[in-house]
């Protein structure tokens, strides 16, 4: 039976080449866009580089300082003093790390200016994030405490500066400081925004100590626990501290702080939807918006396909009439048309997957996002496959129902 449905479907597709083309075009393009989006979100939520430990940590990189009446407000990243006086008092994280965020610096080689991204951090940073070292090592607590001028650089920079020879022990000059290179790591995708940089040095090598007096700044904090279920406890402890036990001796009289420890998904939600006077990330809103977007996005080509399918009822009414006259039940006809619809979406879906693999490769190679690696994995493919089936089903079901309800006499006459 199924074989016959497939056979008929195949013949119909071949006969109506233009119709089939339009259908396939719509489906494959829609799915390609969805797959690319999924793959990018996937790349962000489930990083493959140093941030692959992201299930075990949350990031605190947003801070709103204000007064009771909200007449004066600061919103941005964290100041060192805020971290020292508050976040370092948290007891639930196993590890707390801070870093200056990535800033750009200019390196000079043969009078050529090379803009590079640069991050100052501590020793815990290397314990929490899973960097692969090509050679050398990361800096340790002792080196950070003593403010040693040591640096870790990435592979690309090492090759640019020293070619094939080892970078370890060589010196690196920028911002009027000289660092000794002690380690070379793999290149990190820009998607991994807490890990990516070209140069890392101990935060204690700051040229001035004035940063220690600021509640506002460019710092971000990573709080880590080996048991992922403890991360919510950390968030609770942090919010509780902000509400009840805040240390904030701000010169402008700001006495209230809003912040939160967020995982990757919460972070997107916070950036998109949360208001600055809130401890919540707004994940529910984000999830809802994402689902609505995907549905709307899939609905448009579905409606198009439904429309095309319905308009074909007239054309195939004779077939429907004959099948009914010879004993096809309504449910058998519905099954037939749904199989047809799923079949065409399956073909379109496969084309869509190929298109998206091709485009993702193109994006990776374009360097639009440095060192990005998207690629298809089973999870993305599975999501794609589910999308295809849902798509095929919705666009097949309504026309199928309508077709199967045709009265056989009028179907044989031409479907009036």
């Amino acid at each position: 039976m199924l074989y016959n449905y497939v056979l008929t479907a195949w013949k119909v597709f071949l006969r109506r080449k233009f119709f089939t083309f339009i259908n396939l075009f719509g489906i494959s393009l829609t799915l390609a866009v969805l797959m690319i989006a999924t793959s990018m979100v996937e790349g962000y939520l489930y990083p493959k580089g140093p941030e692959k430990t992201s299930a075990n940590y949350k990031v605190i990189d947003r801070l709103t300082l204000t007064n009771e009446k909200h007449t004066s407000t600061y919103g941005g990243r964290l100041g060192f003093k805020f971290i020292k006086e508050n976040i370092w008092r948290l007891t639930s994280p196993e590890l707390i790390s801070l870093n200056s965020g990535a800033s750009s610096v200019a390196l000079y080689q043969n009078n050529q200016k090379m803009p590079k991204s640069f991050r100052r951090t501590d020793a815990n940073y290397w314990k929490i994030l899973d960097f692969k070292f090509i050679e050398g090592r990361a800096f340790d607590h002792g080196e950070v405490e003593q403010g040693q001028f040591v640096a870790v650089i990435n592979q690309k920079l090492a090759t640019e500066l020293f070619g094939q020879s080892s970078a370890i022990g060589k010196s690196l000059d920028f911002n009027n400081q000289r660092f000794q290179i002690i380690g070379v790591t793999e290149n990190v995708s820009e998607i991994e925004r807490n890990a990516t940089a070209d140069i890392w040095t101990p935060y204690t090598t700051m040229p001035s100590t004035s940063y220690q007096q600021d509640y506002q700044g460019s710092w971000e904090v990573i709080v880590y626990h080996s048991d992922p279920s403890m991360l919510d406890e950390i968030q609770k402890e942090y919010i509780n501290m902000l509400k009840n036990d805040l240390v904030l001796d701000h010169q402008d009289g700001m006495s209230v702080a809003y912040s939160g420890a967020f995982n990757k998904f919460e972070n997107i939600a916070y950036q998109a939807f949360s208001d600055e006077y809130s401890y919540q990330s707004g994940t529910k809103t984000l999830a809802t918006v994402l689902i609505v977007l995907v549905v709307v996005f899939m609905l448009l080509p579905s409606i198009n396909m439904i429309n095309l399918n319905v308009s074909r009822i007239m054309e195939r009414s004779s077939e429907i009439g004959v099948r009914k006259a010879f004993g096809a039940s309504a449910s058998q006809l519905v099954a037939q048309f749904i199989v047809e619809s799923i079949l065409i979406t399956l073909v379109g879906g496969l084309i869509g997957i190929l298109i998206s693999v091709f485009l993702l490769n193109l994006i990776e190679q374009s360097g639009l996002i440095a060192f990005a690696e998207f690629g298809m994995n089973l999870r993305v493919l599975f999501i794609g496959f589910v999308l295809i089936l849902v798509f095929g089903f919705i666009s097949g079901a309504y026309p199928a129902l309508k077709m199967s309800r045709l009265n056989p006499v009028s179907a044989l006459k031409g479907g009036e």
Partner: protein, 221 residues
């Protein structure tokens, strides 16, 4: 075999009610070859559709092979149509996307039957209508007469009790029409098929055993 009691059919459009059939009583016995004649618009096709359970009468009762039809719900009549009745249409109604053999197999798709068995029965039916050599062709590659013979093979493949033919020669020239008529006569004589045929051709009607005349929705005796 087939019994119609007090069958009436009215078509309701916006304002007008058209009476297509009124108080029809008739019977077709097993093995009979009956023709239904009448001018166009007299209701003869509607009568045939009602016999074939394609259309529901407004009033009256119909009995097919001692099954009294009490419900026209999909699940109640599709099985009956599939097993008891074979249709032959004026304009053949073959599915253009399917090969001859697949067209003939179509009624068997809706039965529990293996693919091999279906293929055998379809070959057999095509042999009976003299088209054994054309199984792999598509309908459009055949002449009108050949197409109608494929349609007849499709109608008999499931060995139904009753064949209903709606002007089977209406779209064919006299030569081809004659061939088709001979084929139906053979089926009737050799296979003892029960056939009801609608026609407006007096010559064709004469070749059947009995002619029922319809005028203005009523039987004329």
């Amino acid at each position: 075999m087939l019994k119609l009691s007090n069958i009436s059919k009215t078509f309701q459009t916006d304002k007008i009610e058209t009476i297509a059939l009124s108080e029809i009583n008739m019977q077709v016995d097993k093995g009979e070859f009956v023709s239904i004649m009448g001018p166009s618009g007299c209701g003869k096709s509607t009568l045939l559709n009602i016999m074939g359970l394609l259309d529901q009468p407004t009033e009256g009762q119909i009995e097919v092979d001692s099954n009294i039809i009490s419900s026209y719900k999909d699940k109640d009549i599709t099985g009956l149509r599939n097993k008891k009745i074979g249709f032959i249409f004026q304009s053949f109604h073959l599915i253009p996307d399917l090969r001859v053999i697949d067209n003939v197999e179509l009624p068997l798709l809706y039965r529990k039957m293996s693919a091999k068995q279906r293929r055998e029965l379809a070959q057999e039916a095509l042999e009976k209508v003299g088209l054994k050599a054309r199984t792999q062709h598509y309908p459009t590659q055949l002449s009108g007469g050949q197409q109608q013979r494929v349609a007849i093979a499709r109608a008999i493949v499931g060995k139904p009790e009753l064949l209903l033919a709606d002007e089977p020669t209406g779209n064919l020239d006299s030569h081809m029409g004659d061939e088709i008529m001979q084929l139906l006569e053979n089926l009737h004589q050799q296979d003892k098929a029960t056939i009801v045929m609608v026609t407006h051709d007096e010559e064709m009607a004469k070749r059947t055993e009995r002619t029922i005349r319809v005028f203005d929705g009523q039987l004329v005796h």
